[in-house]
Amino acid sequence: MTMTKRDRSGDPASAPADAPSIPAAPGRRSHVPGDGSAASAAVEKARKDMLSDVRPRRRTRIGADVVCEALIRQGVDVFFGYPGGVILPLYDVLGDYPELRHILVRHEQGGAHAADGYARVTGRVGVCMGTSGPGATNLVTGIGTALLDSIPMVAITGNVPGALIGKDAFQEIDINGITLPMTKHNYLVRNADDLPRVFAEAFHIARSGRPGPVHIDITKDALQQETSAPHPSEEEVVAGLPGFRPTTEPNGRQLKLAAAEIAAAKRPMILAGHGVLHAEAWDELRAFAERTQVPVAHTLLGIGAIDETHPLSYGYMGMHGWKHVNRAIQSADLLFAIGMRFDDRVTGNVRTYAPYARIVHADIDPAEIGKNVAVEVPIVGDAKAVLRALLAMVPETAPEARAEYFAQLAEWRRESESSSWHGSGAWRDGLLSADYVVGRIGELTNHAATYVADVGQHQMWLARYTGFRQPNSHLSSGGLGTMGYCVPAAMGAALGRPDRETWAVAGDGGFQMTFQELMTLVQDRIPVKIALFDNKKLGMIRQWQEIIYAGNYHSATLLGPDYIKLAEAFGIPGFKASKPDEVDAAIRAAQAVDGPALVWFEIAEEQNVFPMMPAGKGLSDLIEKWGGADE
């Protein structure tokens, strides 16, 4: 193979004859800076030019430039990456684009999760980048996480030069084949002339219709190749994608059927999902719920679709959802599901799910309708468009008309909330109760921060006890359930919404998977507050083993380091709370830090998340207690 070395005027060894040379100092030479002479000014200028990060270089436009131009055109201000052999041509030109802030992560998985976190809080496309081979495979978990939760993301990887593809070259892997089934679309670009079109298409596909990740694999020679290909307009992009025409406007006939169902229902319930947030339809949802007086239950990723203090917000549904919510679903006569997909964590056994309910299901993805449950009224459309259209079609309902229904719901809610443990903050063993800690974090941040969960018990406690009031303030790997998601995703979230405090709430298991990104937080001054829930266990594993596997606790106990020392080694202030009366002070201390901080909560080791619906069972089969202990 032949490696081409590009002539750069910034590279003195190969500077072409016409490169701008340092102006010769005329006459008297002075080494005193700022003595006002022309000579010293020339020396200062030369020194400044030499030391400046951004050196204007006389060179032609290459594929790597197209990538940077495309990112800027798409409004990318920050992205996350890790360099490597074949992506170096891109890093070689990055310095010429100071408007692009590149965050050097510590592992590509962290980069992908950070792009995901950035996308979730901003609603914009997140961008991550890695090199070929291991760099690319490390991105895969993050891409999968984004796919299952419909997160708009563009993942960029380098690949070996086109001529080496298929030759098992160094760091070559068929990453295009790997990401094919786990992206919304993917590309392999071997020619720089294709880059403008591919990037414009990728961003369009990632954010349009049901969002999702798009992967672009670029050969090293395409990054280095000269090109004058122009960037296409949005119209040209749409015209070039005849197979991608998402339906956003709902069908009028289906809307009429839905309006009739809603008008006739006596015990209706809205099931709000992530699609409401994607469509930024929270105002429409509230207006619709108020007009029809239909209570709103939400999925895990639908948290924030409605302010939880709103009288019509009923709460979190599903496997670890509130008992009163599941009970209401099981007795509802109509479910109006919007922007959700009847995941098995939501329905449990479909045969016994919502047995009295007819279902109106609105989703932007036609493939989601009728996939998991059969429905009476399917509506394909964007949540905002659907709710807007329906709002004009449904009659206004007075709250008094539902007095009996609401009284029943309120009664169930009282019962359910009082049966779940939520008292003084100390659990059986005297150690901290995790739900109490979560509640305090919500309270002390005025319920106005961004809260990022990892995966496991704390994820469920966070979902239930934080008290979410704002859209896009809760991040959680719902679909793929990716442990290790929390810290890197919080990093992206904090960069996306610097106006909000960002709390990363992680268990000790997930934290130990990706805590190398603590160093990124320090290096790039990203002020994430980490709440580490340490029960010295893989808590959810332990809970399942206790209840479903007859107490066979294999591999459930997990040693951890001294997290204060760990944080300090990274240069991050650490605080610790082991008793209820230490919680507030520790949270406040972390809030007072200008920059990242960590709070180590030593929580009860054997606390379970109740209620719990065992896998394969139905929503009416919730376990609320175990071993006689009230949790």
Partner: protein
């Protein structure tokens, strides 16, 4: 099914409330209906990897392709796939919807219930002897096939027709010994003047 008006055993909207003690009927699961052979026609952009995308999706979504025939169409950038698979109507509808999610797929149509011409071609190398050659040639002729190659020990026959036609010919000659058998898989075209491709012509 997700069609309007289906009740899944649910009471219609506005019906008197079901008494709390009544045992509700189990909710109908999507699918679970009678399995039959379906024929899908997919019009796709002729881009690298599009066959891989389609087959990978079918594998990942747990659909088992029986046959798949791919070729160019009259438009150079468009290819046509004929996919046969077994499944109930809802499962196949789900397969269709999933195929639509692929960016390179322009159109998918389940033509199972439509009037179509369905054809496939098979080449069969049949073991033959001096004694039974005439008999084999006669069977090929009866099945409206063609003999493409004859040697002292074999006959290569070409038969075309529906899957059932080819099955029946293969059944007929199986007794002589089949040395080799290759089938193209079905290709279909709708009867009448309408065109599946016309709808997507740009």
């Amino acid at each position: 099914m997700t069609t309007d008006g289906a009740n899944n055993g649910r009471p219609p909207a506005g019906a008197p409330e079901t008494p709390a003690h009544a045992v509700p009927p189990p909710r109908a699961l999507p699918g679970g209906g009678e399995t039959r052979r379906h024929v899908l026609v997919a019009i796709v952009l002729n881009k690298p990897g599009v066959l891989n995308r389609v087959s990978s999706l079918m594998r990942a979504r747990n659909f088992n392709i029986e046959s798949l025939a791919v070729s160019h169409t009259a438009q150079p950038d468009v290819s046509r796939m004929t996919i046969t698979l077994r499944g109930d109507d809802v499962a196949v509808e789900q397969a269709t919807k999933q195929l639509y999610r692929l960016i390179d797929v322009l159109k998918v149509q389940d033509v199972t219930a439509e009037p179509t011409i369905e054809h496939e071609l098979a080449l069969v190398k049949i073991r033959s002897t001096e004694a039974n050659r005439a008999e084999i040639l006669r069977l090929v002729e009866l099945s409206q096939g063609r003999v493409l190659d004859v040697t002292a020990e074999s006959v290569v026959a070409q038969v075309t027709g529906s899957e059932a036609d080819v099955d029946s010919f293969v059944g007929l000659v199986r007794g002589y010994g089949i040395k080799e058998l290759v089938r193209t898989g079905a290709v279909v075209m709708a009867r009448g003047a309408g065109s599946i491709e016309e709808a997507i012509r740009r």
